[in-house]
Symmetry: C2
Subunit: 149 residues, 2 copies
Amino acid sequence: MKNRYKRKGSSGWFLKSLILLLSCLLATVTFEKLSAQKRDLMVRIAKLRIDSAQLENYKVALKEHAETAVRVEPGVLTLYAVYEKNNPTHVTVFEIYASEQAYNAHLQTAHFKKYKTTTRDMVQSLELVETVPIALESKTANWKKPTGN
Amino acid sequence: MKNRYKRKGSSGWFLKSLILLLSCLLATVTFEKLSAQKRDLMVRIAKLRIDSAQLENYKVALKEHAETAVRVEPGVLTLYAVYEKNNPTHVTVFEIYASEQAYNAHLQTAHFKKYKTTTRDMVQSLELVETVPIALESKTANWKKPTGN
């Protein structure tokens, strides 16, 4: 009996240490991952002026492109595209990429090249504004369309 | 035997109809909900110019406000706040509210009033641009900070 208790105590100690070690490891990995993700994010605002005669076609092309990019590219995290109520030809896209590498990979995709070719004559001007996040707060609840990931 | 088969057939027909009816009901409710959510969304861009001497304090206040609003208010869906790399006093906030009612409720909260009071002398100009969504695509994966919902 004594031996059995001894063994049980020893095994409990070993298990506790193992669990503690694994928890520390997991916490470190998670922290590193989150820090890396936060550090590497590329957040940008694209400001476009669209030819009013081609506005409806442009919206269709942009919508299709945004849906495809966020669905198929792991590094394209957010593409929020809107037009101004009072100036419908003024379009803004709020873009979040996982990293600069993810953005460069995005530029090489077939869907991005198709979007650029299709909209070449629709876009009258394009300004790309590089930004730094202050806060990126969002519900992750499913208020978004089910086509999103 | 004949009766049993009859009963079985009748029960199968009833079950199939019930499942079909429930599916239709579920599809209708889901469609209505999604349409309502999409129709009611209020999406806006706030453009601010901040006093350069108070920029760091402003960022702290804005970050705290955004975190609180998205965490505690069911109708504040997204607050993405950034500053321009080349013009750090130029701040943009991309805002999504569940509805105009949700936005009006937001204006009455203690944290919003606190933010407005704290930042009154830091904000040199504020332009609110009402927009209409073309595409609101975003991963819902957990790349965001764990403080978000």
